[in-house]
Symmetry: C2
Subunit: 329 residues, 2 copies
């Protein structure tokens, strides 16, 4: 088994510098940080004299195609050109083998470099991982800036768009606790290029599907308050999901409905994936309360302010009672 | 009638420098930019050796009280201390006499200085108005920075919180088109003080009332699409409002429901304030379409990307038909 070692910033640049046909892998179910960072990496490599091809196990969703270079919107492995001689493989924003999807089986022994900001991953190659970065886009920004200073990379609007979108998306539009002074300094430099941040943010954040909106409306009708309104629980029983013709992916952000209510400090969504006694809870805290510890009581986990678990219960009311009775605030 | 003249940055500092009991006025129905800028001004004046009192024609909403200094949460004119000898009056973030509410009648001839960023207002005093600023909080930041450089003002966490909240609120959390490089540079300096931006943004943006959530749910059920989904209209007839026990203030942000749907370029909300033939439309564009020109056809107006109008129509369907048939995209 290979030992995978951390690399320095300079070593990353050294590894990217020689001309080579390069695959850039990014994580399945890709988000704007993955797509933006991958296509920024492609532009960097092109300026350094390499051909590069971005690859993912899933298609880039239509709403994020503005981050690709337009000429090649297909990122599936089958779309790699026949004359492409893969001599270097790097991954961006992809913390673990599982996140590579079917790319892991295809390329696992040949990956030269991981560039990522997730601190809790499982390295599968030599890596440059910076958990202090709010987004992989922040690391790509630093690479671009260094190489632009050396006059080896040209900063274009497309590059700034990719980097800005990556950073804005992973920080909830600069609202989350991962935002630092440096995040804003990078955004300041990116906006100085003249890119339209409002247009980019609209594409990133105003993108609910009709099904997600219907789930949101139904969720609002199933909102329960506890502890003088400090705890809000939105419930979504299987029967409701079936009646509305929704699937689980449409319920992904349901906890935000509970979170958006004024005065709520702990927001919970509970959905019932199947017509049985397993209930899936997502919990968010906006106060100093450890929701990972709460979820651990049910065998789940996560971060201090965002966690999840599965509750075994007789019915939805029972599940709601079980989790809320564990919370003391 | 007095001629009101624009002042320079240096003249503003000169006018704020002498010690004097000062009233700081801010606009009715106050938002975070008004409250944050007013209480930042109060801290600046305190450091410059003046007593100051913040005054508004309306109470500060509970969710924004964290921006006041805690000792005096009441900003109504009746709460001004008896021993306070008003010798200077400044207003912040208040573009016109109407926005001062009942403060205008009380103080109209005695206002020494307006500090504001609204370009389309109606000056009622000598003024320092910078439409290039995304928020009055940005202008206050520049004042604070200059005075801190001169070692006349001390930068505190409370001051940074007020300024950050003012700027974040008026830029939709750094998402809107009024954000510039300088906005991010200011945010970078404010975060360097160590304030908790996630906590502040939670207070600013996760603050829907139950009535607003119920309105949102009902709005989602009344969403109509046109032009292959590029136009979305959310309708709210009077009967629905009455049946749900809602008032017009709960429908203020209804257009955001239409805006949040993927693919929508022109978002419209139409509500019927009374059981009669007047329909109130709010319109938002996220493409290059002039909604102010659209609304002007119905006697309304606004900005290019955000405007409103009142439509005279037989019923809601007629109102919707009237406005959508005018749009060519």
């Amino acid at each position: 088994m290979t030992d995978f070692t951390p690399l320095s910033f300079e070593e990353v640049i050294d590894r990217l510098s020689p001309a080579a046909d390069t695959l850039i892998l990014f994580h399945r179910n890709p988000d704007a940080d993955a797509v933006g960072s991958a296509f920024a990496m492609k532009q960097v490599l092109a300026d350094l004299g390499s051909r590069a091809w971005c690859v993912c196990s899933d298609e880039v969703p239509a709403r994020l195609r503005f981050l690709t270079d337009g000429e090649q919107e297909s990122v599936l492995p089958v779309s790699i050109p026949a004359d492409f001689e893969v001599t270097r493989i790097v991954s961006v924003d992809t913390a673990s083998p599982a996140q590579l999807g079917n790319l892991y089986e295809l390329y696992k022994d040949r990956i030269d470099l991981m560039v990522d900001h997730h601190g809790m991953g499982e390295p599968y190659a030599h890596h440059y991982i910076r958990p202090d970065a709010a987004a992989t886009g922040e690391i790509m920004f630093d690479l671009v800036k260094q190489l632009a200073t050396e006059e080896r990379v040209v900063i274009t609007d497309a590059l700034c768009t990719d980097l800005y979108a990556a950073i804005s998306a992973d920080t909830g539009g600069f609202r989350f606790s991962n935002v630092t002074s440096d995040t804003h300094l990078r955004a300041a430099e990116l906006l100085a290029s003249g890119i339209d941040c409002a247009e980019i943010n609209h594409r990133l954040f105003d993108c609910k599907t009709q099904e997600q909106l219907r789930a949101q409306a139904a969720g609002i009708s199933n909102l329960h308050l506890f502890a003088d309104g400090k705890i809000a629980v939105v419930t979504f029983p299987y029967a409701l999901k079936a009646a509305l013709g929704l699937s689980d992916e449409h319920l992904d952000n349901l906890v935000d409905v509970a979170r958006s209510l004024i005065g709520v400090e702990i927001a919970i969504s509970i959905r019932q994936p199947k017509a049985e006694g397993l209930f899936r809870a997502s919990v968010r805290a906006s106060c100093d309360y450890d929701v990972a510890a709460l979820c651990a009581k049910f065998g789940g986990g996560g971060h201090k302010r965002a966690a999840g678990c599965t509750i075994i219960a007789a019915d939805m009311d029972d599940a709601m009672q079980k989790i809320t009775s564990e919370i003391k605030i």
